[in-house]
Amino acid sequence: MYAENGTKLRTGLAELLRQHRIQHRIGGRGLYTVPETTSRAERAELGRLILTYRQGVLVWCRDTAHAIDPYVVSNVTHLPPNPFVPAERDLGPLDSLKRALDATTDASNAPMPTLEDLTKRHPLPFVETWRHVARAAALSEHDINQSPGQRALTVQQALAVAGDIAAISQALIVLDRRYRNIPEWEPLRSPTQLGWAALACAADANLGAPDFSVDEHGWRPPVKLMRGPPRLGLLGALQSEHNLLVRLGTYPSALNLRLVVDSQRMISAGLADRAATVDPRLSEAWHRRAHTYGLLQRQLRNVGSLLGKGGLAAAEGANALSRLRAVPADVRPEPHLLAAFATLFARIDERIADIVDDSLQRGQLVERIQARKLDASTSKLIHQTQATFIPVTGPMATRLRAICRHRLRPGQSQTAAEAAELASRAELHAALVHEPQRRSAGPSMHL
């Protein structure tokens, strides 16, 4: 997921930006009290390893800039007043950054890090930090790319990534200047051009409102079915709920969606009654959830579909309900089990909201029409209905979307993980402009 790898990339670079006296960190001559522990050849070898790590990060910046390019609309693009006149294709800030990254990456002679470079722990903490950064860049390659099956980014999400690329490029420039005393160090080609392009891109991205929900994009480990015999008691219902979430990976037909919705309504109500003595707040939330699914069920009665499957999802919903009913009502549920149900319910709600939203958008769900009354004024002997479905628009679509937006996806509070991702961005920007504690007068920060 981009959240995970992007955070590691940014926090690693922020840590590197806070490290000064680089020669000392790779065993070179530092203060007069610190002896030299590595030879010049060894330091040159370490420098070459760091160069490969830097090349990995540069390539990530370049490839990601190309991947988000189709989605980015610059905030400084001026459209002509006449809509029939095509807009001039000015080079936007991202185009300049792409060119600069292309030129810098092509001019670099450093190879890409090998698998061994990325996976083998290094004894020096300084190099180890670089390894983590390069590894995050390598892992992040499959988070935001143009491969089939990837969800498309919105303009605001793409601008958020553009801002990240710009900040990371700036960090590489700062570090490049700081490392120039490493033996046989290969400096970046035309860092000024790259720096200005990154600055323009960052300013452009922050003119609008970058959408950091892009952190949710990217590869995730596949969730597997919990096979085998049903677990005992409430665990069995939990197992079926988990399997239901997995089965909802495919889009269900309207009929199967109604069955799933009904099962969720019943399970929520049943669990709410059992949780009343253990966790009243959870019980209240699940009563609300049951009511929400009741509302959704009413709306879905007038909705049909010509596509979709979801028979296995409906079966898992029925399994969960039957297993819940099999548990005696006087069994007191354990709090950790209720927490597991709450987590699964939140994910199922989100998935069902996604299914309804996407199905409405793609025309997969259609609205039933009223049967016409018999018209005795025509001479036709056989009266047939002319059409069965129409696209879901108007009040029906509004009601369904309102249920999804306000009830299935209520204002989700910021989780600790989301806060950490946002903090890592602020931390990287702060590290870019930070100044070390000065021992004496004189500049020590190089930008």
Binding site: R298, R301, Q384
Partner: protein
């Protein structure tokens, strides 16, 4: 689908929806909902929309009209065994409601 069939189906669906909406318990509501879903499944989900104008009647009248509508589906080409299954599900839902 002929208009006569669509009209009977609309009545059956609307009555079942009204019964589910006004059921005294969530279990009974779900049972009526399952009858409605099974009815739609028998028609390959090609059923017409609900007629919400007919909801304001007492439950006994709703059940009676639903039984009549479901029974008349057999004359309109629906398999008689499926109709019996629907009537059985409706009776089970009624029993859950009374329990």
């Amino acid at each position: 689908m002929l208009l006569a069939h669509a009209s009977v189906l609309t009545e059956a669906r609307s009555n079942l929806a009204a019964l589910a909406d006004t059921a005294p318990s969530i279990d009974a509501s779900s049972a009526y909902e399952h009858v409605l879903i099974t009815l739609d499944r028998l028609h390959d989900d090609q059923s017409p929309a609900l007629n919400s104008a007919r909801h304001h009647r007492d439950r006994e009248a709703l059940v009676r009209d639903t039984v009549i509508a479901l029974g008349s589906l057999a004359d309109l080409g629906v398999d008689a065994l499926d109709v019996e299954l629907l009537l059985s599900m409706l009776a089970a839902a009624r029993a859950i409601e009374r329990a």
